[in-house]
């Protein structure tokens, strides 16, 4: 699944992204493969997603979020972490 499918409150881990270079902008913001994220807010009308990654709050446009593969953590494993 991809980042844009997550709902507010859900946690996920970023997977390896295809391609290179273009993703550095995301790396700079801390959205690297293996990073655990939590969606804080999802703006309506296909607006941006606001997430927490590595203690920082990051806003990502919907189209960009659609290109970021993630694995959702179910609530239990998310809580034990």
């Amino acid at each position: 699944m991809t980042l844009d499918q997550l709902r507010p409150g859900e946690r996920a881990v970023v997977q390896t992204m295809a391609g290179q270079g273009a993703n550095r902008r995301l790396y700079d913001l801390g959205l690297l493969p293996g990073t655990e994220i939590q969606v804080i807010a999802s703006h309506p009308f296909r607006g941006p997603l606001v997430l927490k990654a590595q203690d920082a709050v990051i806003a990502v446009g919907r189209g960009l979020a659609r290109k970021i593969p993630v694995t959702r953590l179910d609530m239990k494993s998310g809580d034990t972490k």
Binding site: R25, D28, A41, H43, D55, V57, A59, G63
Partner: protein
């Protein structure tokens, strides 16, 4: 160039981490301090003396990594390697330690003496993290200074250290570069050997890099500085073919026989492997020195942040903030206009009395009657508007509310082809176009940035223009709603058309949202002062000179030849030829347009049409210069063409639609 006794110190760190605050404390100079990413877009330098040694401090643009993907990264990289920097002060955000340390690890590769300023330890503590500065120092091999720069805590220690180091350079300490996994190290080692043979050395540096740093830099497929390699085309070709070998897997290291693209480290690109390992190293390093306490309680700040970050009630709240900010600006302008006019009335009367006594000389009388007008309008309307708008902007920047507005505005701005960050330049444009065009750098895409810059320079009235237009409405009863309404219509239409030219990937937002904080009075005042001091030296003389100049031209009948155009311009635009001068003169300074109009005998209708045409006409001279510098000549030409067309269209339509009043 630097002299022998001078020490060059570079401040390096992420955007918004407090580099400028540290700089201000060390040097006492006024570098602008801000709370939204991308403010320190230009290098700021200052000097201070310590024990007879001159220290030059360079404040570099905020960057997250040293890869050469962005202009800011390339600038910082160049400064560090080519400016003979003696010491790097790496400002690290204690509350985002893991991410900050990625850059720290890259800096350690450069083998330049370094110290770490561990800033915002209070924020870290608030979210339950205690960071061992001793531990961090042991693991990186460089001194660490914990501090809360905005409150001035811990800065004295840093200053004392720098003073000590002025007298004993032996303090200078190169840190411990990170070690990659054996496979990656093997590739780096071999790459180093090849580079050593290829690249001529300058002492122990190759192309200003330590050999290892150069190898890693090239492995990560970073473009080397073009200027650096342009002198040596053969070297450039050799390096590029080496990079290609590695990425295609024909380059074989001693660890395996299959070539790098097939390295067991993963199917990823070798560039990705080093980046990933560095990320992991930063994560481990952060974990080793961080002690998490469970004392983290949901603070007041965190609660407000979570409310503002949600679409509801975040968006309405932010709109309310924007609304009240501008209501405050208007209130202040109304209040101050009366006060300033009253205060200046004795001077006005004095000039009035003077004008009757010099009526015999046309030039003198024009001068005498023009001077009070020239001063009154700028001081009673333009200046208060600038104070009010700059104050509001400074507060919004300092609190971290601006980036939140960017997130809230993202969806709203997407039809115009620009990401949410565009809201910052758009709002700033209501103050002045010059900082607005500069801050458009917050939008990463080149086309998106050009579109945004064209749109805001044409359609948004700056504080000075708004003040001058208000004067127009007062003097002739020109209709402000019509003038601003037509600007808004042009913004929508022009934006929708230009937005079509922005490629999809440039529309997407990727932005860090910094924590909220209470505005710091001294930050706000410093910023206000820096922006206002230009008013008296640059703006006021120009306003007065034009006002006086136009008066004299009118009285001497020089402009009367324009009456020849009256037929055409009245027929199509509803204004006389002389008013067209006002529209054209806005290319020098837009707010001068209305000032020129005020010296003409106009009807309310004429003033409205001319004012509306001015408010969407050519960008002013300083803005034009910046527009070309930031976005290229093409953008400037497009802006001029669009502005001329739009301005004439507005005149034409208003003339056709407006009833005579």
């Amino acid at each position: 160039m630097k002299s022998a006794e001078e020490l060059v110190i570079a401040l390096v760190g992420q955007p918004n981490v407090g580099k400028s605050v540290v700089m201000n404390h060390l040097t006492g100079a006024g570098a602008v301090v801000s709370n939204y990413p991308g403010t320190t877009v230009e290098l700021t330098e200052a000097e201070f003396n310590a024990q007879g040694t001159r220290m030059r401090i360079i404040d570099t643009p905020g960057i997250y990594s040293l890869h050469s993907d962005t202009e800011e990264q390339r600038v910082t990289h160049r400064v560090l390697l080519e400016d003979e920097v003696d010491l790097i002060i790496n400002v690290v955000d204690a509350s985002h330690l893991e991410r900050s340390l990625y850059l720290t690890l890259q800096l350690l590769d450069l083998e330049i003496p370094m110290i770490i300023a561990l800033n915002q330890v209070d924020m870290a503590k608030e979210s339950g993290m205690i960071i061992s500065d001793q531990g961090l120092s042991d693991l990186t091999g460089v001194p660490v200074f914990p501090m809360v720069a905005v409150k001035g805590e811990g800065l004295q220690e840093l200053k004392t250290y720098l003073q000590g180091f002025a007298s004993h350079r032996t303090y200078l300490k190169v840190g411990r570069p990170m070690v990659f996994s054996p496979q990656v190290e093997a590739v780096i080692g071999q790459f180093e050997e090849r580079l050593a043979a290829l690249v001529p050395s300058d002492g122990n540096r190759h192309l200003s890099h330590p050999l290892r740093a150069l190898a890693i830099h090239l492995l990560e497929h970073d473009r080397l500085d073009e200027a650096l390699l342009a002198a040596e085309p053969e070297l450039k070709d050799a390096i590029e073919s080496l990079q290609k070998d590695i990425s295609q897997g024909t380059y074989v290291c001693k660890e395996c026989f299959r070539g790098c693209a097939f390295c067991p480290r993963g199917q990823e690109h070798p560039a990705l492997v080093t980046c990933l390992e560095r990320t992991q190293a930063a994560r481990d390093l952060a974990a080793k020195v961080t002690h998490r306490s469970n004392l983290a309680t949901a603070s007041m700040r965190a609660k407000i942040e979570s409310l503002l970050d949600a679409p509801f009630p975040g968006i309405p709240a932010l709109i309310a903030v924007a609304f009240f900010s501008f209501a405050g600006v208007r209130w202040f302008m109304d209040l101050s206009e009366e006060a300033v006019t009253t205060a200046l009335s004795p001077i006005t009367r004095l000039f009035l009395a003077l004008s009757s006594s010099v009526a015999s000389s046309p030039i003198l009388s024009a001068l005498v009657s023009a001077i009070p007008d020239g001063f009154l309008i700028p001081l009673s309307i333009v200046f208060p508007a600038m104070i009010a708008i700059y104050t509001v902007m400074a507060v919004l920047e300092d609190t971290g509310l601006l980036p939140r507005m960017a997130v809230a505005a993202d969806r709203l701005l997407s039809p115009f082809g620009v990401p949410g960050q565009a809201i910052i330049p758009l709002i700033l444009a209501f103050g002045c176009k010059v900082p607005a065009v500069l801050s458009a750098r917050a939008v990463p895409g080149k086309k998106a940035r050009s579109v945004l810059s064209i749109l805001l320079t044409i359609t948004i009235p700056c504080a000075a223009t708004m003040g001058a237009l208000a004067g127009l409405s007062q003097k002739f009863g020109a209709n402000l709603a019509v003038m601003y309404g037509s600007s808004a219509a042009v913004f929508l239409l022009l934006g929708l058309v230009l937005g079509q030219f922005v490629p999809r990937e440039e529309r997407e937002m990727a932005l860090e949202v910094p924590p909220l904080r209470a505005p710091q009075l001294d930050n706000v005042l410093v910023k206000l002062w820096m922006r206002l001091r230009g008013f008296f030296s640059h703006v006021l003389p120009i306003l007065v000179l034009t006002s006086v100049g136009i008066r004299i031209l009118l009285d001497l009948g020089v402009l009367s030849f324009l009456a020849g155009f009256d037929k055409i311009s009245v027929r199509f635009l509803g204004i006389r030829g002389q008013s067209l001068v006002a529209v054209a003169i806005s290319a020098v300074q837009r707010y001068m347009g209305p000032v020129v109009l005020m010296n003409l005998p106009l009807s309310a209708r004429e003033a409205t049409i001319a004012g509306a045409m001015i408010s969407v006409s050519l960008p002013c001279l300083p803005t034009s210069v910046l527009l070309a510098r930031e976005n290229g000549w093409r953008t400037l030409v497009i802006a001029y063409a669009a502005a001329s067309a739009v301005s004439l269209c507005i005149g034409f339509f208003l003339n056709a639609l407006l009833p005579v009043f």
